[in-house]
Amino acid sequence: MKPLGRFTKWLIVLGLLHGVVAGAGFFAPYGPGEQDREHPYVPPARIHIVDAQGRFHFRPFIYGRQWRDDSFEQFSEDKAKALPVRFFVSGARYHLLGVLPCRLHLFGTESGRIYLLGSDAYGRDQFSRILHGGQISLLAGLLGTGLTLLLGASIGTMAGYYGGWRDGLLMRLAELFAALPWLYLLLALRAFLPLAVSPVEAFLLVIVVIGTVGWARPARLVRGVVLSAKERDFVRAARGFGASGGYLLRRHIMPATSSVLLTQAAILVPQFVLAEMTLSFLGLGVPEPVPSWGNLLATLEQYSVLVSYWWMYLPALAIVPFFLGYLGLASALQEGAEAYKMEERRAGSLR
C-alpha cells in the first residue's frame, strides 16, 4: 500500500495547486487586464503588522506608494497612507471556472491597490496575472497532453497490433516527426496565418501544435507494450476462442498500456506547459493583454527590465511547484507499476 500513499500525496498537492489556478478569479484580487496607469513597475507590497510608530495592528496592512523624487520609474512607501488588507472583498466581476458570475475576491484593499508580487509596465497586478496566466498555460499543457496521448496511443496500438508494413510506415512517420525542427516550422506556420488572431484562436492553435508534435514518443512506447501484450498466453487463448481484433484490443491489450500512458501523461504535462511558455515567449502564443506564463516572462527580453525590476522574474518561479508535483507523480506512478510487475513475476515463478 505504501507506493499508493505516495501517489495520493502528490495527487493532493497537484489538486490544490490546480484548484488555486482554476479559481484564479477568486484568489486574485484583480482582473488580469486591469491597468493602473499611475503605478507601473511597483515593487511587491510589504505586508506590515507593525506601523511606522511601532504600534501593533491586528489586521495586516500595506503602505500606499508615491513616486520617488523626480522619478517616473521608482516608488517608495508613503508612510502616511496605511491601507489595511481586507478579506472576502467585493471587486471586479469575473466568472468562476468560466461559468459562475461572481464578484467575491479572497483579499484586497478598500482604497488603492495591493500588489502582492508587484506590478508590470502598465500597472497590472503580477499576482493576478500569474494566476490567470496559469489557466492558459496549464490548460494548454493538459489539453495538449490529451491530444498527444490520444494520437500516440492509437497510432502505437495500430502499429504494434497489425505489424508488417503498417508498423514500418507508422514508425518511420514517428521518426520523421521526432526529427522535425518544430520551432522553426511553427515560425513558418505563423507567417501563413491571418494577421490578427484572436486569443481563443491563438490558444487552440497552440494546443493543436504542441499536441501534434509530441506523439512520436508515446506511440513508440505503446507499440512496445502492445507487441509484448499480444503474444501473452491469455491473449492467444482468447484469440483461439475466436475473439475479434477489436475485442482483443479493447479488453486485453489497451488496458496493458494504461500504466505507460499515465506515466507519460505526468511527464508530458510539464513539458507541454514549458512548450506553451516558449511559444508565448516568442510571441507565437496567446496575444496581449491575455496573460500566460510565457508572455509574462517575455518582458524580460528587455535589458532595462532585466536589471531594474527583479519581480518580473517571479512568473518563472510559479512553474516550479507544478513541475515538482507532476514529476513526483510520474515517479510514484512508475514505482507503482514496477512493484506491480514484480509481484506478477513472483506469482508467475511460483506457478
Binding site: 487586464g33 491597468q35 496607469r37 507601473p40 517616473f72 520609474e73 466581476r93 466568472h95 458570475p101 509596465a121 502598465y122 500597472g123 494577421l195 490578427a196 488572431v197 484572436s198 510571441g283 496575444p287 496581449e288 493583454p289 528587455q302 535589458y303 532595462s304 527590465v305 536589471v307 531594474s308
Partner: protein
C-alpha cells in the same frame, strides 16, 4: 534600392595625387569654427544599429549609410547647423538669392582639396548636380532637386562661382543644399560615363579609390564588425587657434544590432557615445553613471501616431472590410478615438516623463513651426461616447456582460492595430490604446509585425486596418515632411500616392503645402503651415500620440559634446569632438 552592393569597383584608376603637403596652403579659405579648443589624436567608437549598405551617397537610403556618409565622410555646399537649426555656409563661402527668389549664386571656398589631395572647383559641383539629376542614375536626391516640376539647372560663372536656377520660388531654398554631398569628378566621371556609377563606392572599395570632403575618410571595413574612418588631412575647417580639424585621429563605427546590446557595449566602455536610447535604458544608465554622463537633449522631432486605412474600397474588397473602411472614414469615429486615448499615460508609462504628448505633427522640439493655437483637448470618454452616438454607433450587452460597441448595422466594432515589432515603445503604445478603446466597447487586437513587411502592407498592398507608427523629420523645416502631407506622396500613410486628392481637406493641404513651398518669407510660410496643422487636427487622418526626448550619453573624456535634437544627434559636430587627456578628465 539595393543596387549591386557586392560588385567591386576595380575598374577605377586613381589619378596621380599632386605632391603637396596638407599643412602648407596659404591660399586656402578654411572655415573657422568657434568652440572649445581640443586636443588632437584619439579615436571615437560609435555603435551603429546595422551595417551601412553602401558608401555611395547616390544610392544610400538606409539610415546607417546616411549617418556615416553625411555625418562624417562627405560635405555639402550649405549646411544646416543642427544646434541652431539655421543654415550656414559650408563648402560655399557665400550665397546670394536673386530678388525673384529663382537664382542662387554660390561661391566656393578657394584652395579646398578632397581627402586624396585633389583640388575642388566648380566643375566638381557641376558634375555632382549632373549626376544627381540624371534619370538613368536613379539618385535618391533627384526628387528633392525638382522644383515646380522642373529640375534645377546649374551654370558655371567662373572656377569658383555657380548659379543655380529654379523654375519656381522655393521657400527656404538654401536648405535644399543641405545633405547634398559634393562628389569628386576625378574619381567618378569615368564610371558615370560607363553607366556604372550605381555600383561604385561600395563598402569593399579600396581606400585609395575613395575621396570626400568630410572630416573623415575611409580607412578599413571589416564586414560584420566595423568600419574604420581616419582623419581627413585636407579638411577645410579649423579652430580659432588655426589648427586644422578634426581633432580625432580615427572614427570607428561598430555594428551592434540591438538597442540592448548597444547599452551593454556602452556600459562596459567599448563604445564612447550612445544615442537613440529608450527612456528605460536611459534610466538604467543614469542610475549607475560613473565614467559617463547621460543627457536629456529635450524633445526631438519624432512624432508617433495612430492612423487608419483610409483607402477607397475596391471592387474585390470583402463586405467586412468595406464596413470597416466605412467606420474609419467617419470623422467622428476618428475624433472619438482621439478623445479616448490617454496621451499623458503614454508619456508617463513609455517615456517615463521624458517626452511630450502630441496633438499635431510638429513637436515642442520644433518651436519655430509649432502652431500653439491647435487645441489640446484632455482625455474624455464622455465626449467619445457622444461622438460615436452621433455617428450612429450604439452599445449592446456582450456575451460576458460587458458593453460592446456596434455600428448602425448592429455589427460589433473590432479591428487590429499593426505596429513594428522591433520597437518596444510603439508596441506599448498600441497596448495602451487597446485598453483605452476597450472602455469604449471596441475590441482591438495588437499585431506586431516586422518593419519591412509592415511598410509593405501600409504603402503597397494596403491590407491593414490601423497602424501605430512614428516619423522623424530630418529637418525642422516643413518641407522635409512634404511627402507625408501631399496626397501624392509615398509617405502619405493613411492613403499614399493618390493620383488626385480623395477629400476636400486633403486638397486643401496640398494647396497650402505647395503655396508655402513657393513663398520666400518665414512669417508667411508659418501662417500657411499653421493652417495645415489646423486642418490635420480637425480631420484626424493621423491621431498624434507622443514625442520622445532625445536621450544620449557620452563618456566624460569627450570634449565639445553638444547633442542636438536633429539627426545626427551626436556626430553633427564630429569634427570638433576630442578626447580629453586622462589627467583633465580625472579632474571632472
Amino acid at each position: 534600392m539595393g543596387l549591386a552592393v557586392l560588385s567591386t569597383a576595380g575598374a577605377i584608376v586613381a589619378p596621380p595625387v599632386p605632391g603637396f603637403s596638407p599643412q602648407t596652403n596659404p591660399n586656402e579659405e578654411s572655415l573657422v569654427l568657434p568652440g572649445e579648443i581640443g586636443r588632437s589624436g584619439g579615436r571615437l567608437v560609435v555603435s551603429l544599429r546595422a551595417e551601412p549598405k553602401t558608401l555611395n551617397p547616390l544610392t544610400a537610403v538606409d539610415a546607417p549609410s546616411r549617418e556615416v556618409i553625411l555625418g562624417a565622410m562627405q560635405a555639402d555646399l550649405i549646411h544646416i547647423n543642427r544646434a541652431t537649426q539655421l543654415t550656414e555656409p559650408a563648402l560655399a563661402k557665400t550665397w546670394e538669392v536673386s530678388d525673384d527668389g529663382l537664382q542662387y549664386t554660390l561661391t566656393l571656398r578657394k584652395g579646398l582639396r578632397f581627402s586624396d589631395g585633389h583640388p575642388l572647383d566648380a566643375d566638381d559641383v557641376l558634375f555632382t548636380f549632373r549626376v544627381y539629376l540624371d534619370e538613368s542614375v536613379h539618385a535618391t536626391q533627384r526628387d528633392l532637386l525638382i522644383v515646380g516640376g522642373k529640375p534645377i539647372t546649374v551654370r558655371k560663372l567662373d572656377a569658383w562661382t555657380m548659379v543655380f536656377q529654379l523654375a519656381k520660388t522655393y521657400g527656404a531654398g538654401e536648405r535644399l543644399f543641405d545633405g547634398l554631398a559634393i562628389l569628386p569628378r576625378h574619381l567618378l566621371e569615368k564610371p558615370y560615363e560607363e553607366g556604372k556609377l550605381g555600383q561604385t563606392w561600395t563598402l569593399s572599395t579600396p581606400a585609395s579609390q575613395w575621396a570626400g570632403l568630410g572630416p573623415f575618410c575611409l580607412k578599413e571595413y571589416v564586414p560584420g564588425q566595423r568600419l574604420v574612418l581616419k582623419r581627413n588631412p585636407y579638411y577645410w575647417k579649423s579652430d580659432t587657434k588655426g589648427s586644422r580639424l578634426p581633432y580625432l585621429e580615427e572614427l570607428v563605427f561598430v555594428f551592434v544590432p540591438s538597442a540592448d546590446a548597444q547599452v551593454l557595449r556602452f556600459q562596459t566602455g567599448e563604445t564612447d557615445v550612445i544615442s537613440r536610447l529608450s527612456a528605460e535604458n536611459f534610466a538604467v544608465l543614469s542610475r549607475q553613471q560613473r565614467r559617463y554622463t547621460m543627457t536629456d537633449a529635450g524633445p526631438g522631432l519624432e512624432y508617433n501616431f495612430l492612423f487608419f486605412n483610409l483607402k477607397d474600397a475596391g471592387e474585390k474588397t470583402s463586405p467586412e472590410i468595406v464596413r470597416k473602411l466605412k467606420w474609419f472614414r467617419e470623422l467622428r469615429f476618428r475624433q472619438a478615438i482621439s478623445s479616448a486615448i490617454d496621451r499623458e499615460a503614454i508619456v508617463r508609462l513609455i517615456y517615463q516623463g521624458r517626452g511630450a504628448a502630441l496633438w499635431g505633427p510638429v513637436t515642442p522640439g520644433n518651436r519655430r513651426w509649432l502652431n500653439d493655437s491647435v487645441a489640446h483637448p484632455t482625455r474624455s470618454l464622455e465626449r467619445s461616447r457622444r461622438l460615436l452616438t452621433d455617428a450612429g454607433f450604439s452599445w449592446t450587452k456582450g456575451p460576458s456582460g460587458d458593453s460592446v460597441l456596434v455600428d448602425s448595422d448592429g455589427k460589433s466594432v473590432e479591428f487590429s492595430i499593426l505596429t513594428n515589432s522591433s520597437n518596444a515603445d510603439r508596441l506599448k503604445m498600441a497596448t495602451l490604446i487597446q485598453d483605452d478603446l476597450k472602455q469604449l466597447g471596441m475590441r482591438v487586437e495588437v499585431v506586431p509585425l516586422e518593419f519591412r513587411s509592415l511598410i509593405d502592407r501600409v504603402t503597397q498592398t494596403r491590407e491593414y486596418e490601423a497602424c501605430v507608427l512614428g516619423l522623424a523629420s530630418f529637418d525642422a523645416d516643413p518641407n522635409s515632411d512634404l511627402n507625408v502631407w501631399l496626397s501624392s506622396g509615398g509617405t502619405h500613410l493613411w492613403n499614399p500616392s493618390q493620383p488626385r486628392p480623395a477629400t476636400k481637406w486633403e486638397a486643401d493641404i496640398d494647396r497650402l503645402m505647395e503655396q508655402q513651398l513657393a513663398t520666400p518669407g518665414y512669417e508667411l510660410r508659418k501662417r500657411l503651415y499653421d493652417r495645415v496643422q489646423e486642418i490635420l487636427a480637425d480631420n484626424q487622418p493621423m491621431i498624434f500620440l507622443a514625442s520622445p526626448d532625445i536621450l544620449v550619453g557620452a563618456k566624460n573624456t569627450i570634449g565639445n559634446f553638444h547633442p542636438a535634437v536633429l539627426e545626427p544627434y551626436l556626430l553633427w559636430n564630429v569634427e570638433q569632438l576630442y578626447m580629453r587627456s586622462s589627467a583633465e578628465s580625472a579632474g571632472r
